[in-house]
């Protein structure tokens, strides 16, 4: 698997919004101020990369269940290490920072990044680093919106006469995250449409191309169209239910594997 494949896999449309949902608890708790969000983003990135790397490195010795145990234990210890380091450095990361760190240790972003048995260390490091960067950007964006509009301040300095205190409540955090997730969906849809337009143009110019190339491009265009049609059909409630069932089955399969 090349570097480009790993990046594509990590930044796949479904995975990005799944990461938003998996990390929602920490994202709501840690984004009341930009400073806390930055500290938590750095700590989470550290926890994510270290725990995944150690679990992956010990994967050959420990087995499938052992990987999960090691992953959880290392993430908990790194969370404590981060809290202790910030305390020693006298960083003011908020009153509930220890609780946020404890919750981060079991947050979905870290737990779902647990490597499978046989995953290489380098692949694990790259994929967890990509997840960490995306999650850090998400935390900072959410904190910027919540602090700027919620308290009318930027890094503690008051810059706006009016504020919307609702945004500083968990409800405001959840709605902000939901809107950001919707924006991610919109961006992904635009990219997909642009890609399919490029493929269609290539098909139009297909007369000049060789027969072999034409077939390849056409099949790609057909796949795109099928995907679009499938996505449109999802608006239909029955299709939505079918999708939900499929998702359930997929979840159950994944969890079965995990249990095994």
């Amino acid at each position: 698997m090349t570097l480009l494949d790993i990046i594509k896999k990590e930044l796949a449309p479904g995975k990005l919004t799944a990461t938003v949902l998996a990390g929602a608890t920490v994202a709501v708790l840690a984004t009341e101020t930009l400073a806390t969000a930055l500290y938590v983003a750095a700590a989470t990135a550290f926890m994510l990369i270290v725990s995944a790397t150690v679990a992956s490195a010990l994967g050959k010795v420990t087995g499938e269940v052992g990987i999960r145990v090691v992953h959880l234990a290392v993430s908990a210890f790194t969370a404590m290490a981060c809290a202790v380091i910030y305390a020693i450095a006298e960083v003011d990361a908020g009153a509930d920072f220890a609780i946020i760190m404890a919750v981060s240790a079991v947050s979905g972003v870290i737990m779902y990044s647990c490597p499978q048995k046989g995953d290489g260390v380098l692949k694990t490091v790259i994929s967890s680093a990509i997840t960490a960067i995306f999650y850090a950007v998400l935390l900072v964006m959410t904190a910027l919106i919540r602090e700027f509009f919620g308290s009318g301040a930027y890094l503690g300095k008051e810059i706006m006469p009016h504020d919307v205190p609702f945004l500083l409540l968990p409800a405001g955090g959840l709605i902000t995250l939901g809107i950001l997730a919707a924006f991610i969906n919109i961006i992904v849809n635009v990219i997909e449409k642009t890609r399919s337009a490029i493929v269609e143009k290539a098909v139009d110019k297909g007369g000049k191309a060789t027969a072999e190339t034409e077939t390849e491009v056409k099949s790609e265009a057909e796949a795109e169209t099928e995907a679009e049609t499938a996505a449109d059909v999802l608006v239909d409630p029955s299709a939505d239910a079918a999708d939900e069932d499929a998702e359930n089955n997929a979840d159950e399969n994944t969890e079965d594997n995990g249990d095994a």
């Binding site: 929602a24 969370a79 079991v106 919707a182 995990g258």
Partner: protein
């Protein structure tokens, strides 16, 4: 007792007021019946973990505060594994249906968050266990209510951009707004 339950369910709800366990809304709150069963298991894990951790809190008073960050997730995961093992032996049919969700209970941020928030404040073991049980009741209520709403989401037409995670997050946010109305209420 009713007042205490009211406070833990509405006024100090762990999910919608303290924002703990929101990631559990995705996996544990899919349909109300299942949410209730899983919530019951979550409550058992929380209470048992709390009883174990209270002893550590006693140690914590002597200057090892950050131990809680490591202890809470590991104890919760261990208790969850023990509950799964017992369930597999005694209630094999139930385990087949919901055993796969035990991993989401073990790594549920509501459990860890409640343990970190409730246990250090308790004055005795009984006090700690009662507080943890009441907080767990609040989490179960939140999951069941959210599952009831979530059941109806597929029936409605949604804009393409809002399908999936955005809808769930916004629905949770609106529900949290409802619970905000109770916050600060004194009984």
């Amino acid at each position: 007792m009713l007042i205490l339950i009211f406070i833990s369910v509405f006024v100090e709800n762990a999910v919608f007021i303290f924002a703990m366990g929101i990631d559990g809304l995705d996996k544990l709150a899919k349909e109300p019946r299942r949410a209730l069963t899983l919530g019951f298991l979550l409550a058992i894990v929380t209470v048992a973990s709390d009883a174990i951790l209270w002893n550590l809190t006693y140690v914590q008073q002597h200057g090892i505060g950050y131990l809680m960050i490591v202890a809470a997730p590991i104890v919760a995961a261990g208790v969850s594994a023990a509950v799964a093992f017992i369930m597999k032996k005694l209630f094999a049919d139930t385990y087949k249906k919901i055993g796969q969700y035990m991993i989401h209970i073990a790594s549920n941020s509501a459990v860890v968050g409640m343990l970190c928030r409730v246990t250090p404040q308790a004055e005795s073991l009984v006090d700690s266990v009662v507080r943890a049980a009441l907080s767990a009741v609040g989490v179960v209520f939140a999951y069941v209510v959210f599952a009831s709403i979530r059941e109806r989401i597929p029936e409605s037409k949604q804009p393409r951009a809002l399908r999936g995670a955005p809808t769930l997050l916004i629905a949770a946010g609106l529900l949290a707004m409802v619970f905000c109305g109770f916050y600060g209420m004194r009984l």
